[in-house]
């Protein structure tokens, strides 16, 4: 598969000459969600559905900015969020076209509530 970057630039157009000409941006060196989905298929074909699931969640996160990723990670750490706050993050992920991640956060929220690792528990 011929990959293209998050920016849409094809791999063949990512070289030093382009860089020297000032035509490369950081998004030209980021992975595209389609590539992650394809890698997920490869992982699945090679017998690792869990790795595939991880890569599908990653595909949903590929376009989300760094600060938001760090914020969600922080919110998932123990005692950081109420169940409602986790639900709000899940809803945001749904809206951002990240249903697998949204479901993942809801799954966490349910277990956190039961095990007392939500904030204020």
């Amino acid at each position: 598969m011929s990959a293209r970057a998050l920016s849409g630039r094809s791999l063949e157009e990512i070289d030093l000459d382009e860089g020297r000409a000032g035509r490369l941006s950081p998004a030209d060196l980021r992975i595209h969600p389609d590539t992650l989905r394809w890698q997920a298929e490869v992982a699945e074909r090679h017998g690792n559905p869990q790795l595939a699931e991880n890569l599908r969640r990653a595909a949903e996160l590929a376009g989300i900015d760094d600060a938001e990723l760090l914020r969600i990670y922080e919110a998932l750490r123990p005692g950081r969020s109420t169940r409602a706050e986790l639900e709000a993050i899940a809803a945001g992920l749904d809206q951002a076209g990240a249903p697998a991640c949204a479901a993942f956060v809801r799954e966490a929220a349910a277990v956190y509530a039961r095990r007392g690792v939500v904030r204020g528990a």
Binding site: D28, L36, N54, L55, E60, L69, R77, R115
Partner: protein, 764 residues
């Protein structure tokens, strides 16, 4: 005695585990380094037990009507802690659960070891195994069975190895030079960390630059607090992540400020930027944190590894890691550490196999910990070989460190296992160190991060470690690190800066790492890049070991590379020692040797190559001097010496006996060119000489003279006290045997069977 030895001595006095022994034998043993190590009695309640605690659950797996896991290892769904819940939801292959659950433990263990049973079939069955089931089965394996299983079950066919690259100063030039050095040796992943957290971005940047000097494709990481590590990864300043820790109990997990879901999210976050990552676990962590719940270390590790698979990580660093010494303190601890690596492989994950923490003060014990894995092979033989001096390792000393590199290369050569490293010659070492330091200096200057002087480059190129350098103003590194972070310096900035400053080759290679993030092929299990940027992974380079004659084996070229350690000497090299002495003495033949009649005459039998093809003893004494010394010793006792060239044999006993039979006194001296010497008497059997000086490299000029005197005393029928061979406890034979073989071969070439002995004289 250096500082370290002083310190060691003080430790032996104050901290030895065994003290106050009353017998000499035990007092001597007390001083052995192994007695600085701690050994703990097994204690199930504390979790101080390697494989099996009475509190470990019985394996169980019950599926509900909807196919969901209703019971896992004795716990019903309502009582699942976070680990159970995550593993139950994501980590069990329900399609094989019933088959695996029904499989007898010993039968399962045999399938794991048996080379004929395909790897894929074992992986399939392991997919249905609960943590307790897999722990119990693997615990059945003996050490050699673990090795067989590891040879078959590791994911990647080609073994690889990771290095620690750190220093006490966080000196960016030294980090870059040491990174390039590690790559020259063959390390394919480089891990750094910091003594000062704020320095992390600088270390990551210097490591990235240094890693791409000399060869392409080594992966780099900077091990720091999870959020900062992620930030560095998102910027592309690191190319993989590893320090995503998992623990075997919920309490320790939460104490570590994470949950299985937060860790799983981290996995996805790294992957979302095209970054390889693996998780870290390792036995002993829970008991160190006082929350092992009375479970065995191996059962808890089995939970970690099951969780690693469940969260979708491609690999695991384990085999003790920070808790390695805790595991090592209990019975079966070393076997447990090796078995942890196998757990990872059985879950079809990349194994980054520990050996990264110094497990003993005893060289014997720390080596014994690591060697079984080296012989079996792993995706990463070390999750951090300390490529720098132990004092510079900011993770703490690794089990093997910079000073052990020659030992490692020799071990690899001895056994023919592929340890993934290669010898490096000194000019290459200097070349890559200088290039890495200069590239880093240039980028730091170009990006306005720091001005690092040229004088420091020379010092860094030469340095063994940071103790050889002037201290660096800490503000320099902190300011550079802060600037990298504040300005959001990214991989692309590094590429463009390298290109601007004349390091186009390195710019291309760093850019290639950026392109690798775009293609994502190295997100697959056990992926590394070779030096041509080919991805070697489960997908492209699967382990195909099926018993003898299969699987990875070093190619002919690779074997030659492994063989060519810098200490290896050819015949020509070994004979270099002879060169300065060639022709320094000339012997002239005066006729056939006949029996003498002077009762004060002692004959000195010279070996075939003596002063004709060989000119120096192994102790470096010119052979002419040896003759002169023996003659002067004889003269001291009023005896005359006659030189006889014995051409028909290289056997020193025979040479001495031939000389003795020719001598008027019946006493002869035998000399081999390599320096071995003896005194013989005409009526004795060839091997029953009077005195033998067998350790040629240790024979001094004074001893040759004393040998002459003793020969004279024998001729005068006195009974001299035989000279003592200089016995020492060092391994003298391995030091000299290769050279001795060469010298003996030359004696053999000079030998003329059947030729009569000749009288010779030294030309003045």
């Amino acid at each position: 005695m250096d500082d370290r030895a002083d310190q060691r001595g003080a430790q032996e006095e104050s901290r030895g585990q065994v003290r106050g022994s009353t017998s000499g034998r035990f007092r001597a043993l007390d001083r052995q380094p192994v007695n600085l190590d701690g050994f703990a009695q097994e204690d199930d309640d504390m979790g101080l037990v390697a494989f099996r605690s009475r509190h470990d659950p019985e394996p169980s797996l019950v599926l509900g009507d909807g196919g969901e896991v209703a019971e896992l290892d004795g716990v019903a769904a309502a009582g699942f802690d976070m680990l159970d819940a995550y593993i139950a939801a994501h980590g069990i292959d329900r399609a094989v659960a019933a088959q695996t659950t029904a499989l007898d433990d010993i039968e399962f263990a045999r399938l794991i070891v048996d080379p004929i049973t395909p790897r894929d079939e074992v992986v399939r069955l392991a997919g249905g195994a609960t943590p307790a089931k897999l722990a119990r089965v693997v615990a059945l394996l003996r050490p050699v069975e673990l090795q067989m299983a590891i040879a078959k079950m590791r994911v990647r066919r080609t073994p690889s190895i990771q290095a620690h690259v750190t220093n006490r100063l966080d000196d960016p030039l030294l980090i870059a030079a040491d990174a390039a050095t590690a790559v020259a040796y063959g390390f394919r992943e480089l891990e750094t960390t910091v003594p000062v957290l704020a320095d992390a971005p600088s270390n990551a940047l210097a490591l990235l630059i240094g890693s791409q000097v000399g060869a392409a494709g080594a992966l780099t990481q900077c091990s720091v607090e999870e959020a900062l590590e992620l930030e560095l990864g998102l910027r592309g300043l690191t190319t993989y992540a590893e320090t995503v820790s998992l623990y075997g109990t919920e309490q320790v997990f939460v104490d570590g400020d994470d949950t299985p879901w937060s860790k799983a999210f981290l996995c996805s976050a790294y992957a979302s930027r095209g970054l390889k990552m693996r998780v870290t676990s390792g036995g002993g962590a829970e008991v160190l944190m006082g929350a092992a719940e009375g479970k065995s270390m191996f059962y808890l590790e089995s939970r970690c590894v099951a969780l690693a698979r469940a969260i979708g990580a491609q690999g695991v660093q384990n085999g003790g890691i920070d808790g390695a010494s805790v595991v090592g303190s209990v019975p079966d601890g070393m076997r447990e550490l090796l078995a942890e690596n196998l757990l990872v492989m059985l879950r079809d994950l990349e194994s980054c196999s520990g050996n990264d923490a110094l497990i003993s003060e005893s060289d014997m014990r720390r080596t014994a910990h690591t060697v079984p894995l080296l012989l079996a092979g792993s995706d990463f033989l070390f999750s951090g070989f300390g490529s720098v001096p132990a004092y510079d390792n900011m993770f703490g000393p690794s089990n093997f460190n910079g000073d052990d590199l020659d030992d490692y290369l020799v071990l690899q050569r001895d056994w023919g296992f592929d340890g993934a490293l290669r010898p490096v010659d000194e000019s290459r070492l200097r070349e890559v160190r200088e290039r890495a330091a200069r590239a880093t200096q240039a980028v730091y200057r170009d990006l306005g991060l720091a001005r690092l002087g040229d004088d420091r480059i020379a010092a860094v190129v030469d340095a063994a470690g940071s103790k050889d350098l002037e201290p660096l103003d800490p503000a320099v590194v902190i300011d550079a690190a802060a600037a990298i972070r504040e300005r959001g310096v990214s991989l692309l900035d590094v590429v463009l800066s390298l290109a601007r400053t004349g390091f186009a080759e390195e710019a291309e290679r760093v850019l290639a790492m950026g392109r690798a993030h775009v293609t994502g092929d190295y997100l697959q299990t056990a992926a590394i890049f070779d030096e041509q940027m080919n991805v070697l992974s489960k997908v492209t380079d699967p382990n195909d070991y099926r018993g003898p004659g299969s699987g990875h084996s070093p190619s002919k070229a690779r074997r030659a590379e492994m063989a060519a350690v810098r200490q290896q000497r050819s015949r020509r090299d070994l004979l270099d020692k002879q060169a300065p002495h060639v022709g320094h003495v000339r012997l002239v033949v005066t006729g056939d040797a006949a029996r003498g009649s002077d009762p004060a005459e002692v004959c000195i039998g010279l070996s075939p190559a003596f002063a004709s093809a060989l000119w120096s003893t192994m102790a470096g004494i010119p052979v002419g001097e040896v003759i002169a010394l023996v003659l002067s010793g004889l003269a001291d006792e009023g005896c005359a010496g006659r030189l006889v060239k014995v051409r028909s044999t290289i056997d020193l006993g025979m040479i001495g006996l031939v000389a003795a039979r020719l001598a008027g006194s019946g006493i002869g001296v035998g000399l081999q060119a390599k320096g071995t010497a003896l005194i013989h008497r005409s009526d004795r059997a060839p091997l029953a000489c009077l005195e033998l000086y067998s350790v040629a490299p240790l024979i001094t000029p004074e001893m040759y003279r004393e040998l002459g005197r003793n020969a004279g005393r024998h001729a005068r029928s006195l009974e001299p006290a035989p000279l003592r061979n200089p016995y020492i406890e060092e391994a003298i034979e391995p030091r000299y045997h290769a050279e001795a073989v060469m010298l003996v071969a030359i004696e053999r070439e000079s030998c003329v069977p059947g030729a009569a002995p000749l009288n010779v004289e030294v030309l003045p």
